[in-house]
Structure formats: structure tokens, C-alpha cells
């Protein structure tokens, strides 16, 4: 196992997994307690439009994805302030709009879009050093903002209406939170890909929720669970020559089922 770390690509993948788990565990905790999985799905899938745009213009597809997911997050937080009853329909449209646009851009692009699959399903083994710095920067942004607004985010996710009566700027705080979700999406694209990242964003937090008694604890447990799944997925995929993204996700789902069975069994025994 030690000699694996002689390869740069493996060391990069190892570091990227840990760094991505930090963003994923913290933001995934909010996604799970506030039950905004669908919104997060909309933000992440619309990023595919940016991937396509990146190919078309010949720039880094991740940069295009960043612009698209941030815009989607902005549009969705605006929709929320309008109390639009069709909110989830429009999020669904945004979701499909991004995907369709991506496919369209790629069809316009001459030549073969070789590593397109890696954006859809992830390929952590190809993450370059430069992208590790990007993930690190996003981690720092997320940790700083969450530390700064921890109590405010707690209030709006626990009881949004009450937070309004306190005079908190609830809409602005949600805007910030959705922006952080968009940034987390970018971090996770290389790890597990656009299609699968919603699972990695939510499963570790869903497992952590079985044990955590506070939001802070939920975040720490989620980060830990995410690290365990991504790193073991990494090794499994290397030794068994399986796709990394799928390995990580299947492992997470297995982890969730085991944890769920354990909790149900435990509660029954003490009930």
C-alpha cells in the first residue's frame, strides 16, 4: 500500500479526497437538515452547461461549471424571495436547462471530448495539482464563512420564519448558503462527477445525523464519514480496477444502510 504513495497521481487523489470531504461534510450538513436536496441537485446539474461551454470555448470546463452553478444558485435564491409556488418546477427546468445546454455546446465542439465522462461520473485519479489548490481555496472560503455566520445559518435552517422575526437578513443568508453549495459542487465534480455528487453531498450527513446531537457535531461526523468513503473508495477502485466515483458512492450507500440497520436495531432494543 505504501508504494502507491510514490505515484504523484495517487498522492494528489488522496489529498483531493480529504480536502473535498471537508467542504462536502460541512455544506452537506446544511443540505440534509434543511432538506434542500432538490435545490442542490438543480445547482449541481446546471453546472453541466458550464462544462459544455468550457469545451466549446477551449477553457477549463471547471471554470465554466463554476459560473453556471453560481448563477443557478443566484436564480434559485431569488426565486425563494418571490414565494413562487412553482419553485420546484422552475428548479427542475434549471436542472434540465443546464444539462441540455451542455450537450448542445459539446455537439458544437469539433473533435472528441475525451474526458467528458470524468465530469459526469468523476475521475479523482486525474486531478492535477492546480485543482487541488482550487479545492483548498474553496475549503478556506467555506470554513471562514460558516465560522462567521454559524449562529445565523443555524437559525435560518432550524426555523426560518422565527429568524425573520429576529430581524435577520434571511434572504441574504440563504443567498450566501446557496453560493457555498455551488462552490462545493465544483469541489465534488472531479471526485464523483455531476451525476453522482448529490449522493456524496447528502449520504455522509445523513449517516452522521443518526449520531449527532448538534449541528457542529453533525459537520465533524459528516466530514469523517466522507473521508472514510472517499479514501476507501479510492483504494478499492485502484486495486479492483473499478471506476472511482461509482465505488465511492456505492460504498457510501452501503454505509448508510448498515448505519440505518444499526440505529433501528439499537432503538428497538432500548425501546
Amino acid at each position: 500500500m505504501i508504494d502507491l504513495f510514490q505515484y504523484d497521481f495517487f498522492v494528489n487523489a488522496f489529498i483531493a479526497s480529504i480536502l473535498a470531504s471537508i467542504a462536502c461534510g460541512i455544506i452537506g450538513s446544511y443540505v440534509v437538515v434543511k432538506r434542500i436536496v432538490f435545490i442542490s441537485g438543480g445547482i449541481s446539474h446546471s453546472a453541466y452547461g458550464g462544462i459544455g461551454l468550457g469545451y466549446f470555448l477551449g477553457i477549463n470546463p471547471l471554470f465554466g461549471a463554476l459560473i453556471f452553478s453560481l448563477s443557478a444558485a443566484g436564480i434559485i435564491s431569488f426565486l425563494r424571495t418571490r414565494h413562487n409556488t412553482n419553485e420546484d418546477t422552475i428548479i427542475g427546468m434549471l436542472w434540465a436547462f443546464g444539462m441540455s445546454l451542455g450537450v448542445l455546446f459539446i455537439s458544437f465542439t469539433p473533435g472528441y471530448a475525451g474526458d467528458l465522462m470524468s465530469y459526469l461520473f468523476g475521475n479523482i485519479l486525474t486531478v492535477p495539482l492546480q485543482e487541488i489548490y482550487i479545492i483548498l481555496a474553496i475549503d478556506v472560503i467555506i470554513i471562514l464563512i460558516v465560522a462567521l455566520f454559524f449562529n445565523q445559518f443555524l437559525a435560518i435552517t432550524f426555523d426560518e420564519e422565527y429568524a425573520r422575526t429576529l430581524g435577520l437578513k434571511v434572504d441574504l443568508l440563504y443567498f450566501i448558503l446557496f453560493m457555498l453549495i455551488a462552490l462545493t459542487v465544483i469541489v465534488l465534480i472531479k471526485l464523483v462527477g455531476i451525476i453522482l455528487l448529490i449522493a456524496l453531498l447528502t449520504i455522509p450527513a445523513a449517516i452522521a445525523k443518526h449520531y449527532a446531537v448538534s449541528l457542529k457535531q453533525l459537520m465533524f461526523y459528516s466530514v469523517a464519514a466522507s473521508i472514510i468513503f472517499t479514501i476507501s473508495g479510492l483504494f478499492i477502485s485502484y486495486y479492483l480496477n473499478l471506476p472511482t466515483g461509482s465505488s465511492i458512492i456505492l460504498l457510501s450507500i452501503l454505509g448508510y444502510i448498515l448505519s440505518y440497520l444499526y440505529i433501528t436495531f439499537k432503538n428497538k432494543r432500548y425501546a
Partner: protein, 247 residues
Amino acid sequence: MSFYVELNNVSVKYGDSLILEDINLRVAENEFLGIIGPNGGGKTTLLKVLSGLIKPKSGSVTIGGKKIETQKSLVGYVPQFTSFNNDFPINVLEVVKMGRLGKMGNENDDQILKCLETMQILNLRDEQIGNLSGGQKQRVLIARALVGGPKILLLDEPTASIDSKTGKSVYELLNKLNETTTIILVSHDIGAISRHVKKIGCLNKKLVYHDTKEITKEMLESTYQCPVDLIAHGIPHRVLEHHHQSI
């Protein structure tokens, strides 16, 4: 400084439907006003107007003569305890602390503990919110509103879905708080309200309010728009006196 609450010609619309129509109300300091009315009659909406959550289509809402928007910190809002996720990982102390967010002296722990004690939930402070009974949750939400030091307490159905014994103890706590705080609560539980409040109003889009503690058959019938049998055991027009003696 005075903290009377005043609503002048307040109307609220959701889309095309009129929820509150031409509400006029003046609530004096340390008043205890109960508002009853049918479901969908606008009770919760009225509370949201009073807490500044909903801006009325027309009319004015003032506290001590100043616009509600600038006086939000004087108001403590107690929503129904079904308003949040029960499985949120958070304990009682954290929920109550929330009430001091955005207020001066955020770190005032003594006052928070005092509020927990007043509401008789000090022993539950480390308990997860989801593990509490309905009555305990209600106390937590009242404590959360109290730590902000409100002059006016607004409560939405404080005894809905809790048993009548627990409900009674919640009202007894409210009566104690009422010595220093104005309380306005809405409920469809006419019996419980009439035993504990000082004034009663009936709300069904329009507010019928006579600045008294009596509910008359006429008030109820105009509110519920159908004949109502008062649960007054032979004294159809005076709910209050009779029940008062039975406690």
C-alpha cells in the same frame, strides 16, 4: 416609554383573496388578549402582521406610536411548535439562545438560564428538541421568545395538540409573565382562553372586539357564521363566570 399596540384599518391579501379586512385594534400595556376564530380565519396571519413578518396591503401597525418595522425587537414571537424539523440535531439551550441573535449582549448566559428556570425547563437544557413532549416544546419556544426581553409576547395556538393539564400549566405561566409583558394569543380553544385572558376578540377575516372579557353568542355567530352552542352549561351568554368557578 409606552408599548401599546395599535392596528389601524389593516387589510391583508394573499393573491386575490382577502385574509384580513379592515382590522382596528388597540392593546394596552400588560394586557392579555385572546383571539379566537375558525381555522383559516386569519388568526396566524394577524400574529404575523403584529410581528412584522407580513406587511399589510393597507393600514398601519404601530407599537408605542412607532412603526412595527423599527420595533421588532420589542416583540417575542412564539410559533406553533410544529414549525420546525423535529429531527434537527439541536438541544434546548441552543434553541433558546437563538432568541438573543442580533440583540445586544449576546453572551448574557445568566438571563438565558433564568428564562429556562421561569419556564421550568432548566433540567431539560441538554435534551434534544425532538425528544421533548408537546408541552415541553411549547415552553422552549416561549423561553426562546423571552430571552430577547420582549415587551409584547405573541403566541400561536399555544395549547394546540397538548393535553389539557399541560395546557393549563402553560396558561398559568403566561398569567405570571403577564405581570410585566403584554400577551396576545390566538387559539381555537375557546374554553381555555376564556379562563385565563383579560380580553377576548373574535376573528374571521374581520375582528369583533369590544374591549371586554365576555364572548357573546352574537360575537361567535358573526365570527363563525353559523349558530354556535356555547359550552356554558345553561348560561348561554356568559362563558366566563361559570368556568371560572369550576377551576
